[in-house]
């Protein structure tokens, strides 16, 4: 649910990081947050359990400056990855303009990735949205760990709509900004096509 203010020439859009539990969604936002210079930094909100698992969502607002003549604000959210928080995932997914699906590259997380992707498709459908239409980027995280799947296999199994994909090590920042840049551009291109004025 983007917000476009023609009067003040401002656009606000929402990007949701989705994926199975412990795949690195929060790590993506934490890395981005850590890299924002102090003078430009607002607050990152994390609603986590006592064991630092995401309970509701993480939220990080970014002021991108002027793009295509509009002051552009991107709001990054994560969903809780744990299976039993599905109602919360639906709430956070509401009104999203773009999605980053963060997959865990480890072989033993294959089923969790597939289940989470199916869950994303179901939840989008429940909100009247279509996984094939929403701007989306795939991020294959944890590439530094042993026993990981090849990118080709991950693409075959998960990336059926052939979205842009990036290898990542979110804790050290590898692939984090490529992912952010691409999904932001896709969202803004999508809005531009809808609302060209």
């Amino acid at each position: 649910m983007s917000l476009i203010n023609y009067s003040s020439k401002e656009i606000t859009c929402k990007i949701v990081y989705y994926g199975p539990g412990r795949c690195g969604k929060t790590s993506n936002l934490q890395y981005i947050y850590a890299k924002i210079p102090d003078e430009k930094r607002s607050s990152m909100v994390s609603l986590a359990t006592e064991k630092d698992r995401t309970l509701f969502f993480d939220f990080l607002p970014l002021e991108l400056g002027t793009i295509a003549g509009y002051k552009t604000r991107v709001q990054l959210y994560t969903v809780p990855g744990q299976v039993f928080y599905n109602s919360t995932r639906k709430l956070v997914l509401q009104g999203s303009d773009g999605v980053v699906f963060v997959a865990d590259s480890q072989i033993d997380q294959w089923q969790e990735n597939q289940d989470s992707l199916q869950n994303l498709r179901d939840n989008l459908a429940g909100l009247g949205m279509d996984l094939y239409k929403i701007p989306m980027v795939m991020q294959y995280n944890k590439r530094d760990l042993p026993n990981i799947m090849s990118v080709a296999d991950l693409n075959t199994g998960l990336n059926f709509r052939r979205a842009h994909h990036f290898e990542a090590i979110a804790t050290t920042g590898v692939g984090v900004f490529d992912t952010l840049k691409t999904v932001s551009a896709l969202v803004l291109q999508s809005l531009s096509a809808k609302y060209k004025k």
Binding site: M1, S2, L3, I4, N5, Y6, S7, S8, T12, K14, K35, I36, P37, S42, S43, V45, F56, F57, F59, P61, L62, L64, G65, T66, I67, A68, T72, R73, Q75, Y77, S87, L91, V92, Q94, G95, S96, G126, L127, G128, M129, D130, K133, I134, P135, R161, R162, A163, L180, K181, T182, S184, A185, L188, Q189, S190, S192, A193, K194, Y195, K196
Partner: protein
């Protein structure tokens, strides 16, 4: 449910800002924020130092969403009003129409009854203006450029390798600037 988007014209901006200013005056609150139910800040009036209104809006959107889920569990259509009381600051929020929330931050210089009364009046005044911002271009609605075979959808263009208007460079420049 469609994925509504909000497009705000200058006329609506002026009207909303006027009503918000009147609300602050009438309620004697320190700060009021108008936001979409999804947590996008639309307008603010008054000022409280050190409060991140963007984050506050995102959290209120989340609180309201979970509250509506709670309402359904107890067989209510919706809960329209919430009030949080702190030692110094209080927050009152109420639904405006179906898609917006008016959140008010106030201290001991006013009382919740006055806030509630003024908010109800402001809700009535804001609702017709805000209706004009709704765009029914949900994600399942056709995009402006994807109606005909001559103008395939963005996704179709992606898969066909047709060039999109390129914002990559602008986004990259903006991110470089933000993180430098």
């Amino acid at each position: 449910m469609t994925n509504l988007q909000f497009v705000i014209s200058e006329e609506v901006t002026v009207a909303v800002e006027r009503e918000m200013a009147l609300y602050i005056k009438a309620s004697r609150a320190k700060c009021a924020v108008l936001l979409s139910k999804n947590g996008h800040l639309i307008s603010q009036s008054g000022y409280v130092a050190d409060f991140s209104l963007q984050s506050i809006s995102a959290l209120i959107g989340g609180i309201f969403s979970s509250t509506q889920a709670l309402a359904r569990l107890v067989k209510e259509d919706k809960f329209k009003v919430m009030f949080q009381e702190g030692s110094k600051w209080n927050v009152y929020f109420c639904l405006v129409g179906e898609h917006f929330i008016l959140a008010t931050i106030f201290d001991k210089s006013t009382v919740v009854g006055m806030i509630r009364h003024a908010a109800a009046e402001t809700e009535k005044a804001l609702a017709p203006h805000l209706e004009k911002t709704l765009s029914d271009e949900g994600d399942n609605a056709p995009l402006a450029e994807e109606e005909t075979p001559e103008t395939p959808s963005i996704q179709a263009r992606e898969s066909q390798g047709i060039e999109l208007p390129d914002l990559n460079q602008e986004v990259e420049d903006a991110l470089s600037k933000l993180f430098s």
